[in-house]
């Protein structure tokens, strides 16, 4: 039965009317409270409940009898306190005669029957609240479109103010990284969410999408910081090209950071080798055809394979260089493994006597820019005199007396060695001496190549020492010098008619030459110079000017890396202490008692949240050296510590792993421990040793 219907009931009294109005007021109050509560629930359930209760209480007051009477009077000003009087009469507050009582009540009933309760207590407030509710929930429902996913908004904005620990357990950032390797690699893009570490190829592009309630998100890459742009779905976006090992640091605010170590592997250059001929060739002339075959492999793919050459013509100081390329017929076994073949005659290459062609295979991978790999260089030499030299080397130049190769010398020595039993000692000695002269001539050629005359064997050995000491880093020079030493030994043996030992030394010289001229031969020829001594400067110094001098050694920089790693370890120790509640006593100051850690080191204040301290340490670890694998691991584990503040087991495990990695890296950076020496009563051990020495001297033992 509706109150409106009751109002029109003929037997309706003022009391009935008041009761009916009160019910309506209460129903409207409850409805309005529910509507407002529902509206605010889109923001916060607790606020919604409080608001609903408040609205209900506020509206409920209007259901009191006095309030209703006053409302009736306000609605019917013509009643002139009729409802107040009727109320007092009904409640017996006002003593009147029965006639008056009936009269008043009848007038009041008649008057109240004319009141429209819907006008008096409209449902508009309820409708208004309902509309607000609809709007609020509409906004909340579409928040993902204009600000981010609902769950993210809800977790941060709609949740009640979280405690510190609760806040730590909620990730404030969600970092989505999509790695797009360079197109030429053919690798597919990968996507990861909150990655502990990124591994990719050089040149890859990282597309970073960050979900965060913050208004500004920055991305730091190897020291350069920039702000990320907010995209249509409410997330922050940015792109980074990864060219070297480093890190990404995403920061939304002070306590919402994520450190991501990045390990960038460089794209390896193609591996190229000449398989045919694969050795040096010497031709005395003619027009032979030479077949070339080269193989190349690459980790991602090849783009080209060719044979490049340089023809060296001329002699002495008049060398002429001409570059060219031989196209290869490429047969790819796969995109990563190519084989190329070609065939050319000497006339095709326009080689004439005395020329030398240095060639090498060159392959390029599919990367943009210069991605060329080169094989060892080999030589094709046109020399009638040098044919006998085979794989050995000598200058092809002008004087015929230098044309005897080391290999030919070996052949001659072998023949002499075979015939020595049938020869008279005098003939053998003379023949061996001739070979010794030839050996010396060849050796002189190489000494000339090295830039100076070496006549003294001891001086030569000393220069060999210089080589080993690292002053002459050129490997080719080192090998040539080793060859000259072997030649000197061969010469000595030949001089003594010891052909067996001479053969050993001669072959050692050939081996050294072969080593020397695999790659650096061309360079050696071009760089061969002879130093000129100025004899006029000899003995021209003033001895009186020779005096003492003081050497100033270079200042040694402090071991900054060690200091940083110790600082990192200290921070981790404080983090561990903060986790376990135990603080290393050794770190306490004089007279201090056990308590929280001091605000020292990279962790900053000891009272700072665990998560934030872990993030700071992760950042410090990666900043020390992003290229160090152990430091990247340390940073990753510390990031896990930050992410797992609500999970003690996972946090402890990550912290232990971070400690181990950081300590291992620190151990590498620290100097080795001093040698431990027995130091028990040093004076007595010294006396003991002296006594033994005295006894030994007395016994006359030889030294």
């Amino acid at each position: 039965v509706s109150p409106d219907h009751r109002v029109r009931d003929p037997g309706w009294s003022v009391g009935d009317a008041i009761a009916s109005v009160a019910r309506r007021i209460r129903m409207l109050a409850l409805a309005e409270a529910a509507a407002w509560g529902a509206a605010l629930a889109a923001l916060s359930p607790a606020v919604a409940v409080m608001t609903a209760v408040a609205v209900a209480v506020w509206r409920w007051r209007a259901a009191r009898r006095a309030e209703i009477i006053h409302a009736l009077e306000r609605t019917q000003p013509a009643a002139r306190n009729l409802f107040v009087t009727a109320d007092e009469v009904e409640r017996g507050v006002l003593a009147v005669t029965p006639t008056a009582r009936e009269r008043v009540l009848a007038d009041a009933a008649a008057s109240v029957a004319t009141i429209d309760l819907q006008t008096m207590y409209p449902v508009a407030p309820v409708m208004r609240a309902a509309m607000v509710t609809c709007v609020a929930w509409g906004l909340a429902g579409t928040a993902g479109l204009w600000r981010g996913p609902l769950h993210q908004v809800g977790s941060v904005v709609l949740s009640p103010p979280a405690s510190q620990n609760d806040g730590d357990s909620q990730p404030r950032l969600r970092v989505n990284v999509r790695i797009q390797p360079p197109a030429y690699t053919g690798l597919e893009a990968t996507t990861s969410v909150d990655p502990g570490q990124l591994r990719t190829i050089e040149g890859a592009v990282a597309a970073v999408l960050v979900e965060s309630p913050a208004g500004r998100v920055t991305l730091e890459h190897d020291g350069a910081t920039r702000s990320l742009e907010r995209v249509a779905d409410g997330r922050f976006s940015g792109r980074i090209q990864l060219t070297k090992t480093g890190y990404l640091l995403v920061a939304a605010d002070e306590d919402a950071r994520r450190m991501i170590p990045v390990l960038v592997s460089p794209d390896a250059l193609p591996s190229v080798r000449v398989t045919t001929p694969g050795r040096d060739l010497v031709y005395g002339g003619g027009n032979p055809r030479i077949a070339f075959e080269a193989r190349a492999t690459d980790d991602f793919g090849l783009r080209s394979l060719a044979l490049r050459y340089t023809i060296v013509s001329g002699s002495g100081e008049q060398f002429d260089f001409k570059d060219g390329e031989i196209s290869l017929t490429v047969t790819p076994a796969s995109v990563r493994d190519w084989k190329g073949t070609a065939s050319r005659s000497l006339s095709d290459l326009k080689l004439k006597d005395g020329d030398m062609l240095v060639y090498r295979a060159v392959a390029a991978d599919t990367r943009p820019g210069d991605g060329n790999g080169s094989s060892d260089a080999f030589v094709i030499e046109i020399s009638k005199l040098g044919v006998a030299a085979g794989d050995a080397f000598t200058l092809p130049e002008e004087e015929a007396r230098y044309a005897v190769s080391q290999q030919m010398l070996i052949v001659k020595t072998e023949r002499l060695h075979q015939r020595r039993g049938a020869m008279r000692p005098v003939e053998l000695a003379e023949a061996a001496l001739n070979l010794a002269v030839e050996q010396r001539m060849i050796r002189a050629e190489f000494v000339f190549m090295l830039g100076g005359e070496i006549q003294d064997e001891e001086v030569e050995a000393e220069q060999s020492t210089e080589l080993q000491a690292g002053r002459l880093q050129n490997r080719g020079q080192r090998d040539v010098r080793a060859a000259t030493i072997a030649m000197s030994q061969a010469e000595k043996h030949l001089t003594g008619a010891d052909t067996a030992r001479a053969l050993i030394a001669e072959r050692a010289a050939v081996t050294a030459l072969q080593r020397a001229f695999s790659r650096e031969r061309y360079i050696l020829r071009a760089l061969a110079t002879q130093s000129q001594l100025d004899p006029t400067r000899r003995l021209t110094g003033n001895l009186s000017e020779a005096r003492d001098w003081r050497r100033s050694p270079m200042a040694v920089p402090a071991n900054r890396r060690t200091a940083l790693l110790q600082d990192l370890l200290r921070g981790i120790a404080e983090l561990s202490g903060g986790q376990t509640g135990v603080r290393p006593e050794s770190d306490r100051g004089p007279g201090s008692d056990p308590g929280p850690s001091p605000a020292a080191g990279p962790a900053g204040a000891a009272d700072a949240p665990l998560r934030q301290r872990a993030l700071v340490l992760a950042e410090e670890a990666i900043r020390i050296d992003p290229a160090a694998a152990l430091l990247r691991q340390t940073a990753t584990e510390l990031q896990r510590v930050a992410d797992a503040v609500a999970d003690p087991a996972a946090r402890s495990g990550a912290l232990a792993a971070a400690t181990t990695a950081a300590a291992s890296e620190a151990r590498r950076a620290h100097a080795e421990p001093p040698l431990g020496l027995p130091n028990v009563a040093p004076a007595l051990t010294g006396a003991f040793a002296d006594s033994l020495d005295v006894a030994r001297r007395a016994s006359g033992r030889p030294r």
């Binding site: 003492d548 040694v556 200290r570 290393p584 050794s586 300590a663 080795e672 006396a687 040793a689």
Partner: protein, 591 residues
């Protein structure tokens, strides 16, 4: 006519006997007798004695008492001693005395324990701390044990060992990085300690302080030498070293670095180590200065050979023989510390370090320490004591040529080796505290060693306000004192001031921790038996000890001098004789 036979009257006989006794007593004759004697055996029970020890003592006395003269303490005439207890005695025991022991300590149960932790007292900055940890296990064959090293609450080192036999001892070498502020408390713990109980020796704390002063090294070359030059360069590239050098490059012309001083200059004592190259040019005066530097200063001298020197003053420094070995390919020299091997092709093999050859696998012989040796065990680099200092001889003549090998193993070797020598060289004032890690209100012993022989007043204090009384010891320059640690955990600073002309002083930080854990490195009682020709048995093997004592301690035939007349019993026959003689005379009416 035959005279009537005269009969000896009893009265006369008694009188003669009495007179004879009196005369003999007056003469007091000495009689030498030969025969077996009971050896004197000291059965010493350490106090406080346990019930088991008392039972053992009672049994030994019961069994050996009839044949031995048992005394409770060692005296000058005891033939042997039996010590019953559980620890090495504090009182000295005569070296010549035969001592057998009965160890009443509980037999080690199944489990693992820390025996000893060797930690350096100081390390320079940016240097790892090397710890040698002795661990013993009983009945754990097939199981493994982890030793962890923690500093500042972090685990900074770990080593693991698999036990292979029933009773085994393992020495672990662990390098740890320091964390936090010095001095560092290094906690060594057994991570896997089966059988461990409360109070088990599974955790030990050591204190390692930071050496703040640099290692001062002087490089001296009477002539330029590549070998010494590259050692110098290795040190100059290390910030922990302060290198001075003096190199004579020609007659009367020298090159100097830093405060390089001639060897005869008193300023040389500022150096901890002197590296000498060009040894063939060393003069006799140089050698005397180096010898003084080692003996009086207590410094270290490193002789770096680049050629064999058969004669000359330098030979007076070398109590060793040298054999030259030249090899075609560089030989890898294994290093005592386990570091990367050195390479050298020109070697001087050092021998005759001390009587006897170097056992296979050994790094130390007598007082000498082999630092580097060839694959066949021939020492090439050795260190040996020289007075209060040390002498290092390097026979790796051309190791500098291969200095790039092994990731600069040459540099790292010389840096570590000379750092060790410098650490062993005494400072002008050395302060040590025992135990290094104190508990609140614990008494600590302070030892101060002053390098200077000059007499000067010395004073020590803790925390600036409490004086520590130092008493001089018989050893010159050595002082000891006692102090009481602070009542709360924290740090205290001990300062020592020497009132000499230089007004030198030194300080040391003392850590006080309530939870300090340490293991007593006390020798076992069995070592007393081992060092005194005896045997050590447990309480259930006393018969074995008794057999040993009976066999080892014989009853000697000794000549004993007796004086029989000194016995008081002679009064009785004297009195009897005199009384009887008087009674007979009275019966006959004589007077």
């Amino acid at each position: 006519m035959i005279p009537p036979a005269r009969t000896l009257h009893p009265r006369v006989l008694l009188r003669v006997i009495a007179i004879a006794i009196a005369v003999a007593a007056a003469i007091d004759p000495a009689i030498t007798m030969s025969g077996a004697t009971r050896p004197r055996l000291a059965v010493v029970t350490q106090q406080p004695a346990s019930a088991a020890a008392e039972r053992v003592r009672a049994r030994i006395i019961q069994d050996l008492g009839p044949s031995h003269d048992i005394v409770p303490q060692v005296t000058s005439d005891t033939a042997a001693a039996i010590v019953i207890g559980d620890r090495y005695p504090d009182e000295p025991v005569p070296e010549h005395l035969l001592v057998a022991t009965v160890s009443t300590a509980a037999a080690p149960a199944t489990g693992v324990r820390l025996v000893q932790v060797d930690a350096p007292r100081d390390v320079p900055a940016a240097t790892t701390i090397h710890l040698d940890v002795d661990v013993e296990a009983q009945g754990l064959a097939g199981r493994s044990t982890d030793v962890t090293v923690g500093i500042g609450g972090l685990e900074v080192g770990r080593a693991s060992h698999l036990w292979t036999i029933d009773r085994e001892r393992w020495r672990a070498g662990i390098d740890a990085v320091p964390v936090g502020e010095p001095p560092w408390v290094v906690r060594v713990a057994l991570a896997e300690a089966p059988g461990a109980t409360a109070g088990s020796r599974i955790v030990s704390d050591s204190v390692v302080d930071l050496r703040r002063s640099p290692f001062r090294v002087e490089v001296y070359e009477p002539r330029p030498s590549w070998a010494a030059t590259f050692v110098r360069r290795a040190l100059e590239s290390d910030a922990r070293f302060e290198v001075a050098s003096l190199s004579s490059i020609s007659r009367g012309i020298s090159v100097r670095t830093g405060d390089g001083a001639p060897l005869s200059d008193p300023r040389l004592d500022a150096a901890d180590v002197v590296v000498v190259g060009g040894l063939d040019r060393l003069s006799a005066a140089d050698v005397r200065s180096l010898d003084r530097f080692m003996r009086e200063r207590g410094g270290a001298v490193a002789l770096v050979y680049d050629m064999r020197v058969n004669a000359g003053p330098v030979r007076d420094l070398l109590p060793i023989d040298m054999t030259e070995r030249l090899v075609e390919r560089p030989e890898k020299l294994s290093i005592a510390s386990g570091a990367a091997p050195l390479e050298a092709s020109e070697l001087l093999l050092l021998s005759n370090l001390l009587p006897g050859s170097l056992p296979a696998g050994a790094w130390a012989t007598g007082a000498g320490l082999v630092i580097a040796k060839t694959a066949d065990g021939s020492p090439v680099i050795v260190s040996m004591p020289r007075g209060g200092g040390r002498l290092l001889v390097s026979g790796a003549m051309d190791a500098w040529r291969f200095r790039a090998a092994g990731n600069n193993a040459f540099d790292r070797f010389w840096q570590a080796t000379l750092a060790g020598l410098a650490l062993a060289a005494p400072a002008p004032i050395e302060i040590s505290v025992a135990p290094p890690l104190l508990r609140p209100f614990e008494k600590g012993e302070l030892t101060v060693r002053v390098r200077s022989r000059a007499r000067a007043p010395i004073a020590a204090s803790i925390d600036g306000d409490e004086t520590i009384r130092l008493r001089p010891e018989p050893e010159a320059g050595l002082f000891r004192g006692q102090f009481t640690a602070r009542g709360t955990p924290g740090r205290s600073t001990i300062e020592v001031h020497l009132a000499d002309s230089a007004r030198r002083s030194a300080s040391r930080t003392v850590l006080v921790r309530s939870e300090a854990r340490r293991i007593a490195a006390q020798p076992a009682l069995s070592m007393l038996a081992s060092s005194h020709r005896g045997i050590d048995v447990t309480a259930d093997r006393v018969e074995e000890l008794e057999r040993f004592v009976r066999g080892a301690v014989t009853s000697p035939n000794a000549d004993a001098v007796r004086r029989p007349m000194r016995s008081t019993w002679w009064i009785l026959p004297l009195a009897v004789c005199l009384s009887a003689e008087w009674w007979i005379r009275r019966r006959r009416g004589l007077r």
